[in-house]
Amino acid sequence: MNPIIDIQNLDVAYGDNVVLESIDLQVQAGEFLAVIGPNGSGKTTLMRTILGLVDPLRGQVYVFGQQPGALGALRSRIGYVPQLMTVNFQFPVRVSDVVLMGRYGKLGLFHRPGRTDREATRRALEQVGMAELANRQIGQLSGGQRQRVIVARALVSNPDLLILDEPTTGTDAESTESLYELLHRLNDEEHLTIVLVSHDVGIVAQHVDIVACLNRRLVAHGRPAEILNSETLSCMYGDEAMLFGHGAIPHMIVERR
């Protein structure tokens, strides 16, 4: 079976500044992958390249067998959850309006949302447990609730691939747990392929099947227990990084200087 995401020998640069180098990465259908790495390691850029928001300098990227720029109608098979801080929560819209926007690509230009779209909106809000706040203005929501709204917006087009960029930044521990619970359910029951980006090694290692460690290059790629060793971590975070086992869960300490 062809991989959902197929990245071959990818380089990406902003001007002269190379942010990703020689990346080879495949994501299979049904996989739950976390891309981890320190700030500035190119994680977000990798996601933006997969989404077609950034063009590769060299190499090939295929999503559902197509280059991201040529996805056309296949775009609605991708759900994207951007970093929370990129969304303007002062904008005068309600929760259901925001979620409905996730359908606009499927709808096409000029077409107005109909009953199917509103039904999908209601279902997506139920999936994330926000149905009762559908008419709330988005500025009135807490961090965790805001997060769930933009997850619902990504789910409303019934995607096959879900991409999340730092989905737990700015949310409390309880919201983080319930988000991962939701992602596992989507992954298990609906066979959604999930790729998420995080700088939090500890949380990610507890929850995902496969981890890709990124620091401009792909440092390691595999099951958390196999690859999250001190060698990998020092490649990413420098020699101050230490890893110790605590039951089955790896923890990491980065010594402050």
């Binding site: 989404l51 077609g52 928001l53 996805l71 056309g72 109608a73 775009r75 609605s76 991708i78 994207y80 951007p82 990129t86 969304v87 303007n88 904008f91 005068p92 819209v93 309600r94 309006d97 925001v98 926007m101 996730g102 606009y104 690509g105 499927k106 709808l107 230009l109 000029f110 107005r112 949302p113 203005q137 500025g139 917006r153 087009s157």
Partner: protein, 269 residues
């Protein structure tokens, strides 16, 4: 109300209502997308277009449309392609197009066009031809917004996500800038080049204080825009003061009242 019997007053009423509506609708996007400065830049560029029309002996509104749309797209392109911020691009175009207008006017020998009317507006001097042009442009703007309502909402709220779901974000953005340019031109006969951006921004900004719902904001913005332009028209007629300035000051008064109202309600919305 015998003044309503005069043809010039009927034209003025119709023209004021039209710009009240169109400026208020476009203003919502301008305010929410943070395009206030680009609106002011395009407005000043229209001076170059008006001067060109005078020099070529064409209707200045028609040359101004072409000139303003070209300037809007120029600002958009330079700031997206080059290593120039949008803010800087506006600053460069703003002054240069106005300078071009001054140069063209200076080359005209003994011009007798009411340039003051274009700069500061003179609603009572609106001709039937001006009115027809304004109405056609207004229909184009309102029609486009009606057709692309959901798209303009999405690119104003979250342009990156709009691109991810597959909307043609860059063409839509240029189209929005074009609509701002057209709105500016159809308004300059009434409020003038100098003041038009205020009539675009202020009603929408006032409406933003009063609601957190997008559709409500647009309806309120139109109500405030039409109220300010018609109220300004009558006030200026009765008090014999400048009409464009009266409209803008009335809109500003409504804006401050709205800010006060929001504060009184405890900023809970």
């Amino acid at each position: 109300m015998e003044i309503l019997g005069y043809t010039f007053m009927q034209r003025a009423l119709l023209a004021s209502t039209v710009i009240g509506v169109v400026c208020a609708v476009i203003g919502v996007y301008v305010v929410l997308r943070g395009l206030s400065f680009i609106g002011a830049g395009i407005a000043h560029a229209s001076f170059g277009g008006v001067a060109l029309g005078v020099a070529l002996n064409l209707n200045p509104l028609l040359t101004a449309v072409v000139f303003c749309v070209a300037t809007a797209l120029g600002i958009g392109t330079v700031s997206r392609r080059g290593h120039v911020s949008e803010d800087t691009a506006i600053g460069v175009f703003f002054a240069s197009t106005m300078a071009l207008g001054i140069l063209i006017i200076g080359l005209q020998q003994g011009y007798n066009v009411d340039l003051f009317g274009y700069l500061f507006g003179s609603v009572l001097a609106v001709t039937t031809e001006d009115l027809v042009i304004s109405l056609i442009l207004a229909l184009i703007v309102i029609g486009t917004v009606a057709l692309l309502f959901k798209e303009f909402l999405f690119i104003s709220f979250d342009p990156e996500m709009a691109e991810v779901v597959g909307l043609p974000v860059t063409p839509l953005y240029y189209l929005l800038l074009t609509l701002v340019a057209v709105t500016v031109v159809l308004s300059i006969r009434v409020v003038g080049i100098i003041l038009v951006s205020a009539l675009i921004v202020t009603p929408a900004a006032a409406a933003q204080q009063l609601t957190d719902d997008f559709v409500q904001m647009m309806i309120l913005s139109v109500a405030i825009g039409v109220g300010a332009s018609l109220g300004g028209l009558f006030l200026s007629y009765w008090l014999n003061i400048a009409s464009g300035a009266t409209m803008v000051l009335l809109a500003t008064a409504i804006f401050f009242a709205s800010v006060g109202f929001r504060r009184l309600r405890g900023a809970s919305i």
